[in-house]
């Protein structure tokens, strides 16, 4: 992980159509992940965020279009080779009962091992590094069952890190975590991006955290691209109303300076600034 590859891998979807059975969830979408940056996919429930991520991770076979990894159709590449380039944290994973942290993270080494090539010191080093980066080294021999939600999520991230990939895809890495642990996990992901230049794409529910932690926002509505670009350019009251059906005002996050969405509901609207809902009203 220390020696970042000279040319980061690229991952893009070309007019991709994804769905389950007959139901189309993502429809003719084209999107490229900026290499070495953090992309966050946002959108209302059912807008196809996770479906898009699963498509990028080749977990879903597109019924139209293709996903290109370094310019090649991802489905034409050997699955294990892809797993050496793309790491994945699925939504709400469940660990096998009784497994220790070191064992679980060790399974991330599978793509680097052959059928008969067994464990090497290199594998130990990769696992140790993944545990160190995620600050879970102290739990290495503990059972995953005993850990708190935040610790567990860090262990799952460590599993993806042990894969030593250029690209990391995370499906709602902050679900079921309290706010402090959400920040902890997102900070960790930022560290990875800054430290090793890992290209990150993740699905997040919280628009404000997305705006703070993303270099690049990908906004979906009904399976289509509603907007994409840097959060400061993308997050506007008009877009939020269009995509989420929510009236809001957008101010500068007093901490990060990124856009901060302040919702306007039907109640508690004592001091709606003049012109706040303008985008929504039009």
């Amino acid at each position: 992980m220390a020696d970042t590859p000279r040319e980061p891998s690229t991952l893009e979807a070309r007019s991709i159509t994804l769905g389950y059975d007959e139901r189309k969830v993502v429809d003719g979408l084209t999107v490229a992940l900026p290499p070495g940056r953090v992309s966050v996919i946002v959108g209302a429930n059912g807008s196809g965020k996770s479906t898009l991520l699963r498509g990028l991770a080749r977990l879903l076979k597109p019924s139209g279009g293709s996903v290109l990894l370094d310019g090649q159709d991802i489905r034409s590449l050997p699955s294990r080779a892809v797993a050496r380039t793309i790491g994945l944290l699925p939504q709400a994973p469940v660990p096998p009962g009784g497994i220790t942290v070191a064992e679980l993270v060790g399974r991330g080494r599978y793509p680097h091992q052959g059928w008969f090539r067994r464990w090497t010191p290199g594998d130990d080093a990769a696992v140790a590094e993944a545990l160190r980066v995620t600050d879970t080294l102290a739990f290495a021999d503990r059972s995953v069952d005993e850990l708190s939600g935040g610790q567990r999520q860090r262990v799952w991230i460590a599993l993806a890190l042990a894969q030593q990939t250029d690209i990391l895809l995370l499906d709602e890495p902050t679900t079921f975590l309290d706010v402090a642990h959400q920040i902890e996990v997102l900070d960790l992901i930022t560290d990875l991006n800054r430290g090793s230049g890992t290209t990150v794409a993740m699905v997040l529910h919280d628009l404000n955290l997305a705006a703070r932690y993303a270099h690049h926002l990908i906004v979906l509505k009904d399976g289509r691209l509603a907007a994409q670009g840097p959060p400061a350019a993308v997050v506007t009251p008009r877009l939020v109303h269009e995509v989420f059906g929510l009236r809001c005002t957008v101010i500068a996050d007093p901490v990060a300076g990124t856009p901060l969405v302040v919702p306007i509901g039907r109640h508690h609207t004592a001091s709606v600034p003049a012109g706040a809902g303008a985008g929504a009203a039009s």
């Binding site: 797993a83 050496r84 096998p96 009962g97 009784g98 059928w115």
Partner: protein, 363 residues
Amino acid sequence: MSASTQAGLRPDGTAESGSAAGSAARALAAGRAARRRSRSVRAGALALAAVILFAVSVLLGSYTVTVPDFFSILGGAQIPGASYIVLENKLPRALMAVLVGIGFGMAGTIFQTLLRNPLASPDVIGISYGASASAVTAIVLFGASGAAVSFAAVAGGLGVAAAIYLTARRGGLGGYRLILVGIAFAAVLHALVNFLLTRADLRTAAEALVWLTGSLNSSTWDRAALLGGALVLLVPAALVLSRLLQLLELGDDAAAGLGVRVEVSRAALILTGACLAAVSTAAAGPVAAVAFLCGPIARRLVGGPPSLALAGLVGAVLVLAADFAAANLIPGTSLPVGVLTGALGAPVLLWLLISVNRSGQGG
């Protein structure tokens, strides 16, 4: 690395973080070695228990053989009575117990791990029942006997496994889906068997009944050789596939993310597990609950995800012990081993149902 070992002890200097990573890696390697050692010790203890139980069931019980006599019989000496009982009854029977235990233990653990549910063993989801229903059908309707019945059992087990797999596959193979489909199949097969038994004459029914409880009473060298031959192929296949099983256990998405071809791997594992269950059932009937018990017992023994090899050993110990007890519990009567394992399985099933519900996931 050798120079940094000392530097790592002092918490200063720039070399510290590099050597810290090195020592962390060494600590992990040591932890892994310790885990493997402790598992090997437990596996060794189980293997020893199997050897002792094997010796006990050959030497003791309804007919006692002394150790010197045993070896002289093996050496070819003819001891009236003893030779026949040891060579034609006790040895093949103990060997069958070991083989059937390994087969059911591994089959059960494959299914339980794959479907992430301790209830998903082949005896619960109808695969073993498919094998015995097919055997009973062959006996009652076609008057089959011997190898033909075994063949019918294997075909039935695999057929039901395929039917369950294909039915549950539509719309995704969620763990519970396959289990529920399997339980439905088991219920239908149960009805079929009951119907057939009411149509059969008494002697045929008695013969067929063995196929419903599981028994080693009619163990022969032929049967043991047949089962042994099948296991020589299936056990290594299962051990090779167990690597994929460990990854599928993380969930389909995580496994696919690690480069596992999920559908193919799962189909291969289900086929291997179904074959193991079917050939074991063909040899001794569906020895109740063994497939279902081995995984959870192995899990308790190692305190983590059980290895297939360990589950197979647990199966061997379980069937050897249960068969010896069943054969000698009531003087003059040799109970079918399935009666005992079934009685053992019921409370464990209840306990699992309760503890699974409490933790919300397959333990």
